[in-house]
Symmetry: D2
Subunit: 345 residues, 4 copies
């Protein structure tokens, strides 16, 4: 299958390039970049030598539509809402790694992204590309809204207890930690090495655009409008997200019962690994891979469940999940090109 990448020059873009190199059924034939068109990708990323030798181009929708079957969009917020409809009109399947088509309610996008939302028709058509939740819809989709990195880690941790209705929906506290690559390759004082190294920082407190995305899925599963507490922290690592989730159990469930519930729910999921009782995953254990590893603890003193969920933000949190969605769409084995061992140490 011929594919293209819009926004190939960012970190999600080059992670797509990396993963597509290891994918047997795709042919990457177009790389688009607004800010660096005309340059060869090797000028920006010499580590890609021997793999790709291709220039970044200005966007030309007609031409792309003629040459590729599917486009990945690895663009900043606010770009695809205007761009993707034209691609869809021309019959190109779109996987949007940005957030423009994730929120079904236009007013949510307006409030949290501070931009005008996409056309409602497309918002409703788009499928939220979390395979573990929406695999059947993804198969038929023309437009996939690839989930955000924090929602991926958090929702994969929460879905079993949401679906089994064993937690108080109004008690969910999510304390998330992320590496810096999530911020992209954009120059910004806050992301200088000197500012991030030997530092921990809470950021976007109360304003993170992933809040409504998580709440939307909670609402879809539970039918309830339950606001969450959610604080994100910047950690001096390149890759990796840990979501530490606290929620009140509404029944007295033992850790063994909870563990079995997760094992059962995810028994056929190739990319989810549940740690044994008493073990908790670290981000290094999924580094460079498409896994989501989950650890569980029931605090009997407070009757709360603590869920620790980790992903690589650039893989399961972005480009790997996009390829997983492509595999589902195309009818290929879902793990195609994605079953690599995490890099340790």
């Amino acid at each position: 299958m011929k594919v293209g990448i819009v926004g190939a020059n960012g970190y999600s873009g080059i992670e797509l390039i990396r993963l597509l190199q290891h994918h047997p059924y795709t042919d990457l034939t177009k790389m688009i970049s607004h800010s660096t068109s005309g340059k060869n990708i090797l000028e920006l990323y010499p580590h890609l030598e021997n793999f790709v030798d291709m220039s970044l181009e200005h966007i030309d929708i007609e031409e792309i539509a003629r040459e590729v079957d599917l486009v990945f969009f690895a663009t900043p917020a606010g770009v695809t809402k205007d761009l993707i409809p034209d691609f869809l009109e021309k019959g190109v399947t779109c996987i949007d790694v940005s957030g423009d088509f994730r929120l079904k309610k236009p007013e949510d996008y307006k409030q949290w992204y501070k931009k005008s939302p996409a056309n409602d028709q497309y918002l409703q058509e788009s499928v939220y590309g979390l395979p573990e939740l929406n695999r059947h819809k993804i198969k038929e989709a023309k437009l996939i809204a690839n989930p955000g990195c924090f929602p991926t880690a958090t929702l994969l941790g929460l879905i079993p207890v949401l679906q089994h209705k064993v937690i108080d929906l109004y008690s969910i506290h999510i304390d998330a930690k992320t590496g810096v690559s999530g911020a992209g390759r954009n120059v910004n004082v806050a992301n200088l090495f000197t500012e991030v190294n030997e530092n921990i920082k809470a950021y976007k407190v109360g304003h993170h655009q992933h809040i409504p995305e998580i709440e939307q899925v909670i609402r879809e599963i539970s039918g309830e409008e339950a606001p969450i507490s959610f604080v994100t922290h910047l950690i001096p690592i390149n890759r990796g997200i840990m979501s530490t989730i606290y929620c009140d159990l509404i029944h007295n469930l033992s850790i063994e019962e909870i563990y079995q519930l997760y094992k059962e729910m995810y028994k056929n999921e190739p990319f989810i690994r549940i740690r044994q009782v008493g073990q908790y995953p670290t981000t290094k254990e999924i580094f460079g891979s498409n896994f989501c590893d989950i650890g569980l603890y029931v605090d009997e003193r407070t009757n709360r469940l603590i869920i620790i969920s980790v992903i690589d933000n650039l893989v399961k949190g972005a480009s790997g999940q996009a390829i997983q969605n492509l595999n589902i769409l195309a009818g290929w084995e879902e793990t195609t090109g994605l079953m690599n061992v995490p890099l340790y140490p």
Copy 2:
């Protein structure tokens, strides 16, 4: 004043040495170490050249008691409970940086430290050395139990709302992140550079010995036995703790009201700095200093207060606070030797 350090060869020990070098009224005349006695401290820590040139000695209580007025104990858990009583008998004032005398209930120590507790008489005599809470008691103390690093960051964040009774005591969630120096200089696979670097790890989930310490102070202030949720995370930095605290407000207080409450409560505290509304402290902003910086957010969607409190675990979380306690005890200006600017970046 002549002072000694037992456990001078660990990280809290050398941080005491560093701070005492800058303290005008003390004379460090004894350094004791169990594992490295006989060595000059410069063999272990060449960075101290030009400041100290002294050998580490085996412990000899008689001799220490003759030569010094006050001893700092920077020892692992389980050492001072047996050692300090002998020092007290000989009239030596003791500041214990370890956890042996912090928990007033012997059964708490037994449960959380998995060791037999100190003699109850000394447990009751000891003063919990959090100056912002117990300044008056510290003045008269013979034995100070210097608070743990996580309790220091967390309690300084919580005390204003605990004392003003504006939060639901049963809603407190504490998500704590720490640098690696808290683990000391002990060899351990888990603390190798390769294992910690580019990693985030939750540890001691449900079993951290700082849980009962925090709950004890909550109980003392509120009179209630309110269990907390508390998870600690290891972050690839050397120094720094961030405690992100979530709690339900029981009244509808605005962020401005909360901010004023903190500003008022801490207006005379030299080491507490409250960030303006909308600003949150990072650990780098207190690096190497005795400050505790606090940021506040009221989430109106959930009516929860989020408190972000940071300290340097080796300074305000250990050795700096020990010096602060010494200053109070001795009747010196409380900031003596401690008013240094954080190192940035």
Copy 3:
């Protein structure tokens, strides 16, 4: 082909496991560990879940010889010199990632490793497994001495000018920088996170056992006994080696001539990439891959050539090169299982 790993529990061991998972023609059927036998590898490394589920065993040469065709040794220095002869006797091909069979002169091993050397017969039989230098000998070998990490980076940088005799052999200065994984997973105060983080350290100054290894290859190529200057530095990264090499040119060669010489020499090498004039490789650009990237500079002011050569110490510097040697031995495509894109960022 059935293969085993002796020393599977160290970092080179698990890197072999990782790479073998992606190798189509091998079957890893034995994992041996002295210190952790009896444990499942997943207890030590949960990141391997879904890939291997196998216990580490005590060594039993008879049994291993029956069950596997080839063994990788990822053991500390001093182990294989006694162990490998027994394997060879039983017809097992051996690839030794440790240094025991690299030095042809027994007295060199004695001097630099401070241990008694292997039996001379085996020393002479062993083939130094640097494919770019010894590909033809490797094809026929029964015992491969896989090169050290620093020699790999350094020699690949030097070989073209050594073979073309354009440098003064007595002018070679090598300033090497390495990540911490080279030290293995052994507990050691010097490798604690707190000691390595935010630090640069020169180590083994004048005593590094890779000095005679580099000099041996220089001697083999040039016929001269030319001592080198070589200092290694520990850098706070997990993976990666940079060797900065300085040498005096004996002719006035321009940078373009030098560049052409390298391009020509390495034109068929799949894992060597020469940066264009004016560009220099960084270690991140080969992270997780088997590449050696090389940059070149001719300083006309001093008539010196500066060569910057980078590898991932665990891949091209250890386990990746071992697989490359296996591929050559077995007659498979040399890049089999090794052509992965570096992980960036």
Copy 4:
């Protein structure tokens, strides 16, 4: 003494602010910034709360000259060459932390800085502010050119053997490693956390502007024009420089003789510490302090001397040395405000 800082908002600027807070005889009354004037320094650096509460101002030379006695310039290259003459005209003493007045030959500045040089009169008037070399001239200076960070580390390592004429001047190889704060707080893709973390990079190969600065001092001491090899490497740490220097001994000197030579030469220097034979300094051992620590090795195989010299680039490599120069100028004890213990770990 009333002092001002031009360029107070950069990293050298805030390091000056930090050190001046601990200095008993100065009063910081003016902070100037081109890019952030109008802002309070606390908006940019909240860690300074409780120490300074002052706005950054546009430059007004008349006003500054009226209000302060001495100005520190912590500006990018190319600013002070035009600015400082006006300050000197008005009788203000100037300490220039930038490189504009370091090179005595205008053509050197033109070649290496790619800018037009300062007026020759001022170039000749300026005193190169390396106290260990030029203490007597500094006492009388009106304009001090504070040395660069690499030259400081390197020259302090070389001066004893240069002055004693024991090395071949044409054999000097300097391999330098630096933390990222040397690059300032300027936004730049190359200095993003994601690009620097887990990476080693050689930069400005052959073009570093500190090359002529080092060569100038070699020329001044030896009378010879001896070009050096000098390569700088970016290391993922915030602070710290290590200069590894290789040079050929022209006599057969033992390590003990070399060690005695250094001890003797620097016996009265408060900020230079020579490690014992067999010990080498690490950058962490001088972190946050004004020390330059030096280790020495004589390689008898090559008859080369290897010198390892470390400084904190923001302290001895910039702002600390500037304060040291101020102390000398003002006739105060040279260590005033600078004798702080390195922060470890």
